[in-house]
Symmetry: C2
Subunit: 415 residues, 2 copies
């Protein structure tokens, strides 16, 4: 590990992470927050619910870094040992904090649910530590200095962790003094990672500042620019030069920056154009609706959606002619076009999306294998259609179908 | 960290993980594979593309563990340094391996794409190491013994890593000799983590074998039983004794085991009862449909779904009376009941789910704050209803609303 100066570490605690029961999504979220405040995350360590290991890890990481963020192990049960680990590493005792106890009692009162005796354990704080209020759960967080390192323990439940990190921890930590990092992520649809890599080869060379990297997920490519400098203004200037260059080269494919989703870009364009959208989903089964309604404000542009699995529903809700279903089969270009046109008409919306396909694992034929998906977008002036052959599992095929549908609509909205 | 005996570690390498651009899903997958072969994963460490740190981490982890699985840093670019780190830790030089070079050339030939000069770097192996063939990418893996620890380096691309882990690495590692681990996870709905913790307190005591722990996510509580013994049969026997005990105490709340989702449990019960389901979603916007259609075979029981954001859609699709909407507001118990009854009737399904609420961040009032969600399940014999007050962000409120709706249906199906 490098100098302590300006570095941070993340410690994720939980046996379930070591058993592989769940992926750790908290650490990436914390790393992104620290990075954008100019801190360099030097490492992420995941360990189990073992007090000796927890204490040793806190001692070691606090000795090496200025900031340590810990998640997990703050629950009310006997396998939750982060409180004890912090006390052990700090060489102090645990004591019940009256304010935290009041908060926990208030939480149960608001829920109109009796508080259990073991929830009282969650009001224990290491002496010299400070409680961090958890407005949406029972586990308070803890802030304490150990080895000259600012240590923060947060609950492992992602929604609670996120609220407390943004609302309480990041304001205490603040921006890293005397060193700045600026990060920009540009999100692209409609071009492959190797194509993008070739287009940006010179910018992606090792040792360059800013560094430029790519990563791919479900058909979306993200180009990441990381600029380091002494001041935020210098870092921003470096970053912007690269951003302009990349935007020039890949303008046609960039739909957003810094976490904007493709659904978010679509909702924004629909809103700007005073347009509305309706959905007719078969194999995606509500996933496109879910992605769109993840976006706050989407209710203003999404009129309605139909999950039409059965032929009967396709006929009754969307007006797909029975003879088209009989002649071409439910998974076909003809039916998909009728679904998009039908949902646009029946809902009185500006745009309609129709998706039908075979997500897998069953249902494939020689003619129409698993992964075959038909997607149509009906607009005021045209209807576009695409036949896709995805090669993934059920989850992968469904998310790619949804992303492709949103990408096609995004493109139509821009044209 | 505990004794070296039987323990394994995972090392994830990549700057993008420390910047928080992506979550590390590889490590959970590897941890699950090692656990089911009887190995105890003692820790997961994530570090950046820095040769000194990579070498130090390999030295430290190989000294402490019998198995070390490394992901990332095997690409063709200058920031890929895992090969050098392994050579440094082993105290040997890198040399080009003719067989690996042939494999890489063959890969590009098959793609009909010219091989770039820098892909040749990927044929470098530490002396004494063995190449692991990558059939779906350019980066070969590496197997090498360091400090008496079996070390394996695999590409960071998840699909390549998974194929190589299952096909090549796990067969070499095999089951842990003289030690077996059995894991069972029981998934519960309708009871809080602290309640469950109180019920299982004696089983959850530290140092007990099997160990019993809990974790919570979006209203689902998972109870995890981990039994260690000399043989698999002994471990299974220990595990089963605890499982029976826990099932006895919490029978009413356990909907499945070992990764079964609540939607999966609902689809199974509907299928067994020859029953069908239709959805009327407002604030969840397709999320319940998405969760149900994640389950292969759900098309046999899910007739259709309606995403009815607007009042017009609630009236036209579900037959919610305009005067009920006007009198109570779209977010109300009365409208929610009409949605559930309406969708059941209009679709001719056995069960109907209606959900309406305020997911946030906007839209809340003093009377109906963000997080207020009404959920109704209409069945052949009864209609049940619940008013919920979730305290999370938009994502959190939506997933909790969807899980609660599925839980209520699950309960009705069992009664």
């Amino acid at each position: 590990m490098p100098d302590k100066n300006g570095t941070a570490a993340i410690l994720a605690i939980g046996e379930e992470l070591l058993l592989g029961s769940i992926s750790d999504t908290n650490s990436a979220h914390i790393a992104a927050s620290l990075t954008s405040a100019g801190w360099k995350v030097a490492g992420i360590l995941t360990i189990g619910d073992d007090l000796t290991e927890i204490t040793a890890a806190i001692l070691e990481l606090s000795a090496k870094h200025e900031i340590l963020i810990i998640t997990g192990g703050l629950g009310p049960t006997l396998d939750d040992l982060t409180r004890q680990g912090l006390a052990g590493a700090a060489g102090v005792e645990l004591a019940e904090n009256p304010e935290m106890l009041q908060n926990i009692k208030a939480y149960f009162r608001a829920l109109q649910y009796p508080m259990k005796a073991n929830n009282r354990l969650q009001a224990l704080l290491p002496e010299g530590g400070r409680g961090l209020h958890n407005s949406i759960g029972t586990a308070p967080g803890i802030a304490i200095e150990i080895n000259g390192c600012q240590c923060f323990a947060l609950p492992g439940v992602p929604s609670e962790m996120r609220v407390m990190l943004a609302g309480q921890v990041m304001p205490i930590i603040g921006n890293r003094p005397g060193g700045a990092i600026s990060v920009r992520e540009l999100h692209l649809w409609g071009k492959g990672e190797s194509d993008i890599g070739a287009t940006l080869a010179a910018l992606m060379e090792r040792g360059r500042n800013p560094s430029v990297g790519t990563c791919a997920a479900s058909g979306i490519i993200t180009v990441r620019i990381v600029a380091s400098a002494e001041t935020k203004a210098q870092a921003e200037a470096l970053l912007q030069a690269d951003e302009i260059e990349i935007r020039n080269r890949l303008a046609e494919n960039i739909f957003g920056a810094d976490g904007i989703t493709l659904a978010g870009a679509v909702v924004k364009l629909l809103t700007e154009r005073n347009a509305t959208l309706a959905l007719a989903e078969s194999c995606t089964g509500g996933l496109i609706g879910k992605l769109l309604t993840d976006v706050p404000g989407s209710s203003a542009v999404l009129t309605e959606g139909f999950i039409t699995y059965t032929n009967g529903a396709k006929i009754a809700r969307l007006g797909v002619p029975a003879e088209v279903l009989a002649g071409y089969g439910a998974v076909s270009e003809a039916v998909c076009r009728k679904m998009a046109e039908g949902v646009r008409e029946v809902s009185g919306s500006t745009f309609g999306i129709g998706v039908t396909g075979i997500a897998g694992p069953g249902g494939g034929t020689l003619d129409k294998p698993v992964g075959r998906v038909y997607i149509a977008i009906a607009g005021p002036e045209q209807i576009v259609h695409r036949e896709c052959n995805f090669l993934h599992d059920r989850d992968g095929n469904r998310i790619r179908a949804a992303i492709t549908a949103l990408g096609m609509l995004w493109r139509m909205l821009l044209s």
